[in-house]
Amino acid sequence: MTSRLTKRFGDIVAVDHIDLDVPEGSIFGLLGPNGAGKSTTVRLLCTLLRPTEGEAVVAGHNVVEAPVEVRRVVGVLPEEGNHTLYQRMTAYENLEYFAKLYGIPEEEIPRRIEELLRFMDLWERRDDPAGELSSGNRQRLALCRALLHRPKVLLLDEPTASLDPVAAKRVRELILSLSKKYGMTFFINSHNLAEVQRICDRIAIIDQGEILLAGETDDLRSRLKVEQVFRVRVTNDVAKAASVARSAEFVREVSTEADTIVVKIADPSSNNSRLMRMLLDAGVNIVEFSEEEVTLEDLYLSVIREVKK
C-alpha cells in the first residue's frame, strides 16, 4: 500500500503522490508508457530508492522505517532481469550465492534450489554458465533468484519485455502457476496491455508519475465510459444500416463487413440501445447485435486521451 508516495530527482517528479492499494494474494499490474514512473515505483517499493515524500508499506513493513524487513519479504525481478545474472557463474552457483545472501540455512539451500530449478524446467541446465543460457531461460533463472527466499510479494519490472513471444508466454504461465501454488502477491510493471489483461486481476495506469486510474481489471472495463465497438448483423440493406448509424451524433466510426456493420460508439452504456432503436425504426432487420470486448488498450488510450484533454 502506498500513500502519497513521491520521488523527485532534482526538478523531475518521477512518481507524483501516488496512492496504491494492492490486496494480499492479488496480481497487480502497473501500466504505463516508458518513462511513466513504473520502474521508479518498483524501486521505491523494494527500498532501492528512498521516497521524497509519502510512504509505502509492503507486507506490513514501512519501506523507510524497516527497509531490511521489506527486502526480506520481497522478491525482485529487475528490468531486463535476464541481464542481471552473474554470466560466468553457473545457474546453480547464481542461486547458491543469493541463497547465502538471503540467509537461507545451509542444509536447506540444495533442496530449495533443486525445487525451483525443476519448477522452472532448468534443472538439466544447472551446470551451464548463466551467460550461455537463452534469454528466456535466463529470465526464468532470474525469477528463481527472486523466489529463493519465498517472498510474500514479488515485484516484476517488465518481466517479458526482452523475450520472444514463446518465452514471454512461458513466463506469464509461470506467474499464474506461482500465484496458484504459493498464493503470493504480484506487482507487475508492464507497458504490454495484452499481457496485463491476461494475468492481472487489478491494474493501475500511470503516466508522468501520476496514477490516472486504478481498480479491478473487469470493473474498470465496464465502469469507464469509453468508446466501444458494436457489431450489427443485418438481413437486408447493409448500406442503409450504415447510413443510419452514421447519422447518429454519438457514433464515431462506421465500417461494413459483408452483412455486418461495425460501429464505434461513444458512451456505450446509454447509446447502444439508442442505436438499436434508430436502426429498427429505419426498417433494418437486425439478427445480431454484439459488443466487442473493451481491451485494456482501448481503456488505456481512452484514459490517456481524457488526461490530455
Partner: protein, 237 residues
C-alpha cells in the same frame, strides 16, 4: 570493463612486483662481490627501495578489485539484485572491502615471501651471503603500511562509486590514493644530498607514509560509510 582484462591485470601486476624487485635488488647484489666496499652501500640502498616498490606494486590490484567490486557490478548490471537482498549497508560495504582487501594482502605478503626467497637464492648461487629482505623498515612498510594504503584505495573507490558508472573511471580516480606510497620511494633519495642519515630517513619516510595512509584511510572510510546510499548507486548509472 571485461572481467578477463581485470583478471589479466591482476595477475600481471601481481607478478610484475616480485620480478621487478628481484631484478632491481637481487641482480645488482648478486653481481657485486660481498667483499667489495660498495656491497654494504648497495644493500642499504637497494633493500629499502625494493620494499617500497614491492609495496607499491602489490597494492595496485586493490584498486582494480575494488573498482570492480561496486562500479563493476553496476556496469555488469548485477548490483541491483544484490542491493535488494536483506544485507544492511554496513554488511554490504564490509563484504566489498574484505573481498578486495584480502586478495590484496595475500598478494602483498605472498609476493614479499616469493621475492625474499628469489633474491636469496640468487645471492646463494652467486656465492654472496644471504640478506634480510625486507629489512625492519621494509617489513613495517609492507606488513603494516601496505594494507592501510590498500584500505585507503578501497574506501576511496567506495566513496566515488556512487558518482561514476564505469570501472575505468573509478580506477583512474580512486587509484590516486596509491601515490601515498611514492613517499617511501622518493623521500629516502634525499640521503644522497647528505642531509639526513639513511636509516633514520627511511624510518621517517615510512612513518610519514604510515601517518598519511592512516589519515587517508580513516577519512575516506568514514566518508564512504556515511555517504553510501543505495539511491545513488542505482540512479547514477
Amino acid at each position: 570493463m571485461k572481467v578477463r582484462y581485470v583478471k589479466y591485470s591482476f595477475f600481471g601486476t601481481a607478478l610484475l612486483g616480485p620480478i621487478l624487485v628481484v631484478m632491481m635488488v637481487g641482480g645488482p647484489l648478486a653481481l657485486i662481490p660481498s667483499t667489495s666496499s660498495d656491497y654494504p652501500i648497495m644493500v642499504s640502498m637497494m633493500i629499502p627501495l625494493g620494499s617500497a616498490i614491492l609495496a607499491l606494486m602489490a597494492v595496485i590490484p586493490a584498486g582494480l578489485i575494488s573498482a570492480n567490486a561496486l562500479v563493476g557490478e553496476k556496469e555488469q548490471r548485477t548490483l541491483e539484485p544484490l542491493l535488494v537482498t536483506p544485507l544492511t549497508d554496513r554488511q554490504l560495504l564490509w563484504g566489498k572491502v574484505l573481498g578486495s582487501l584480502i586478495p590484496c594482502v595475500i598478494l602483498l605478503y605472498g609476493g614479499t615471501a616469493v621475492t625474499a626467497i628469489a633474491i636469496n637464492v640468487l645471492l646463494l648461487v652467486m656465492g654472496n651471503p644471504l640478506v634480510l629482505f625486507p629489512d625492519p623498515p621494509g617489513m613495517f612498510l609492507i606488513f603494516v603500511v601496505g594494507p592501510i594504503v590498500a584500505l585507503a584505495i578501497i574506501s576511496t573507490m567506495i566513496l566515488i562509486s556512487g558518482k561514476v558508472s564505469r570501472v575505468y573511471e573509478a580506477y583512474q580516480t580512486g587509484s590516486v590514493a596509491v601515490l601515498v606510497l611514492m613517499i617511501p620511494l622518493y623521500l629516502p633519495m634525499m640521503q644522497f644530498s647528505g642531509s639526513v642519515g639513511s636509516l633514520d630517513l627511511i624510518w621517517l619516510s615510512d612513518l610519514i607514509t604510515f601517518a598519511v595512509a592512516l589519515v587517508l584511510a580513516s577519512l575516506t572510510w568514514a566518508l564512504a560509510t556515511k555517504r553510501f546510499n543505495r539511491d545513488q548507486m542505482v540512479t547514477q548509472v
